[in-house]
Subunit: 305 residues, 4 copies
Amino acid sequence: MTQALEDFLRRLDREIRAAGDWGEVADYIPELARIDPAQFGIAVALPGGGVLTAGQAGQRFSIQSVSKVFSLACVLGRIGEQIWTRVGREPSGRRFDSILLLEQEQGRPHNPFINAGALVTTDELVTGRAPKEALAEILGFLRAAAEDDDIHIDKAVARSETETGYRNVALANYLKSFGNLKNAPEITLGTYFHQCAIEMSCVQLARAGRVIAGLPGTPQMLTPLKARRISALMMMCGHYDGSGDFAFRVGLPGKSGVGGGILLIAPGRASIAIWSPGLNGYGNSRMGSYAAERLARETGWSVFA
Amino acid sequence: MTQALEDFLRRLDREIRAAGDWGEVADYIPELARIDPAQFGIAVALPGGGVLTAGQAGQRFSIQSVSKVFSLACVLGRIGEQIWTRVGREPSGRRFDSILLLEQEQGRPHNPFINAGALVTTDELVTGRAPKEALAEILGFLRAAAEDDDIHIDKAVARSETETGYRNVALANYLKSFGNLKNAPEITLGTYFHQCAIEMSCVQLARAGRVIAGLPGTPQMLTPLKARRISALMMMCGHYDGSGDFAFRVGLPGKSGVGGGILLIAPGRASIAIWSPGLNGYGNSRMGSYAAERLARETGWSVFA
Amino acid sequence: MTQALEDFLRRLDREIRAAGDWGEVADYIPELARIDPAQFGIAVALPGGGVLTAGQAGQRFSIQSVSKVFSLACVLGRIGEQIWTRVGREPSGRRFDSILLLEQEQGRPHNPFINAGALVTTDELVTGRAPKEALAEILGFLRAAAEDDDIHIDKAVARSETETGYRNVALANYLKSFGNLKNAPEITLGTYFHQCAIEMSCVQLARAGRVIAGLPGTPQMLTPLKARRISALMMMCGHYDGSGDFAFRVGLPGKSGVGGGILLIAPGRASIAIWSPGLNGYGNSRMGSYAAERLARETGWSVFA
Amino acid sequence: MTQALEDFLRRLDREIRAAGDWGEVADYIPELARIDPAQFGIAVALPGGGVLTAGQAGQRFSIQSVSKVFSLACVLGRIGEQIWTRVGREPSGRRFDSILLLEQEQGRPHNPFINAGALVTTDELVTGRAPKEALAEILGFLRAAAEDDDIHIDKAVARSETETGYRNVALANYLKSFGNLKNAPEITLGTYFHQCAIEMSCVQLARAGRVIAGLPGTPQMLTPLKARRISALMMMCGHYDGSGDFAFRVGLPGKSGVGGGILLIAPGRASIAIWSPGLNGYGNSRMGSYAAERLARETGWSVFA
């Protein structure tokens, strides 16, 4: 199986490069707008510790919203189920940066994977301590899960978002006006922008995802129940208003980031990271989504099989 | 395992009856409003043909929206992927009978499991033939899947809905005004009301669901890919705006009906039908949802495990 | 003044015909879709009984939503302020046939001049008697106000709407589902479609409007307070989501119909009817709106002057 | 008439104090939350320069959103009709601080009298110069119109809003994200908070409003066309989602502020300022609205008469 999978990944990489249908990079974060969309990498972490790769699997990229999975994991560790009083668990049916529903729902975001909801979980993490400490917890979680200390924040990307992330500033202040932000908006925003600016390679991200996939021989950082619930949230809300389509095509929980990364969980079987910076209309990686669908079909790893 | 599961079902039945926290029956369909909410039944169909039961598992009830799973299966058999030009695959984030999103989306419903979307699939089934024939196809599918010919439509319930289902009449006419209904609204509506009025017992419904769960030794009526995709849609959209919560708690694809039924799929492992007519705030069976969560926890059958 | 105004009307008529910028006729009512958009008429009823005209001021057209002003007047006569428990008095900020807000507002339409609100007022008129009698009251009001008995319903237009008015059928059934329709939807709808199919010429409509403008020497059919309040509603809601623009440009209360008619009220000074069947993007008469703006500028009849 | 009106104002003042039905003061601006709601003042500026008063007509209060009328007047003087490319002229049908519609409309606010729209006009005023100069222009306009130099900004109120006006910060950043803010959000916001913190008495405000009412013997600061158009906007949008009700009851253009002030325009006849800090459910002065209705009824000053 391992050899067949490795061959498939190599074929997939070649095919994607040949097609050249990359999509366009996000343009609202200047630092990301400069990145060449014609890139692709994939890493598959398997039980027992092996990691198969193809393409630019060692190239670091900005994980952006993929970080929301791990900040949620940290919050669940700190305060557990209490977080659900401040944020829901339902798909939003709208864009990742929608502010509309926040008004209809009186400041309680639909779920922790849209921007408004992630601001709430980060706000919880930064409460009662300095931003640096909150960021250290997230980085610490990722490093321990990936068993790799060489994971850092790209300060230039964080700065770029701080300067131009007007919509996130709007969301944070809007949450604050409803009393659903414990800290000053600029504190929570600063932490959030830095968290999103964490850089990882596909190999690192696939290794970090093993704790959610519950792979044997992985650091025990989440109870099985917590891992299942995070997976459920990824399935329902991980691709914004394209989550239904992703579940239909791929059949696996996943979380995308605007930097072009996707973390994909095949519970008990594999943790997969894919990266290709060109995006589709939902703000998800175009070739990343395609690769996820192909991989799921090839391996039969649908959770619905 | 089978014995332990049977014991659990029996304990669960006793516990639910002791708690007496039944919720309230749907009141907008007069014929359903008369039903005693204090009822509960469960049936678990296993690979190999066995069915475990507890409570009123043999009592027939109106399957209502659970029928949407099977009308979709019939449509996928007839026209395949073309149906997705008329209806989406995304959670709606709104009530099952919402008309609001239909205006925003210009007449293309979010998914085939909210009322507007189910009207579209039924409309497709009735196109080019008489309502009786469309209904015969759905009944035929259910009977073949359940290997039980004693499945029928409750005409009194169908009549009751025809007389008072104003919101569905509104939805059908609204779809028609956007050109997304091929037949006269009263034709599609009549078929839809009859399809929703199909009566089944938990045993029958659990047996019918085996074709989606892909249980060994079941009639081959859906390709594995189709069964997986239907399961994915059930997971994403099967409990309306409570789908995220259901996925989080239960971790299995399910589809609820306002008659109090829930069909639950544990792919490859079991097809489960639960019935309790009292509803929660989302319009899903209150004790049915509770039983689903308990069963999933007891068996470890989450798709995310 | 009268001579100058007459000269202006004639110049305006010539100018509009020369420009040839007519817009397009409504296409969702088959019977109206056939009408030539290149038509224009205007009539100005003055205190003392005189009526100045230009263009096709004697040509009959379907008054459509302009009828809502008079059905409201009849309802205010019958049940007075009670009607406001069923319908609001606020601009809707949305299209005339929007169903979206009806869901947000739980079945209470924003105002009596959007379709949903007009269905409520017509429903009130038909309560406790036959549709024929309700229609006779509206026709009777118009005939008495215009002092002209030759005002009738175009049955072919009424039939055309009955057959294709799916969106109105949706609205009526949706209102019914919220309990805000006293009669069977088809009864209220039938009455509504016939009321909208009343035919009048500009001369007849301008004469009928005198009771709202409160012109001296006019039949006393409305108290001054009622006339003022109807004018206020026309100003706020008479041109759907283009009402603000109309108030800004024209500065007079007006009510448009999809047949291309506009009734314009200059309180105490004149009642004006304009007709040109080509529409703008809001569903209001394109050349009619233009003529209204030109007339208001020429005469200085803004209520804000 | 003057004597009768003066007597009426005195009776009205007594009646309102006797009723003691004051409503509650706005609580989201700490500095305003401390104000005693049991206060009332009214001033009526007449042609020829006379001003009739009753109650606390000389007491200064925070004009808040009433300032939007004058910042719009300044903008129309500077760039004229161009402003309408950035902001609409339609009632919004929603609360004054709604952000929801801004998403639906892609960053173009419905009108210049809701917060989002007023931020756009203030942004235009501060473009190309310092906030101090923009504020000097608004203050200069008010002083010249009122012929009274003793009009100032309450710095404590401005500071209070700067510290807690999270929703306005959200709106400004949201506008910026759509490219509909020319300056840094904090620049526009600072100017806006200071503009809203202008203090005036009823006498000063009534005198300033004379330029919109076009009273004879008033400084010529607006062309008649501009004054009419500002009046039309006040009528359509001056009381947020209670504008229709205000037009129905009062029949005069008006603009309210959350500090409890209302400016009321009877074109050609009077400019009226009313103040009572307790608010109704729409965020408009409770007793101020009542007084406006009573005054309009007493004088017959409806624009629709």
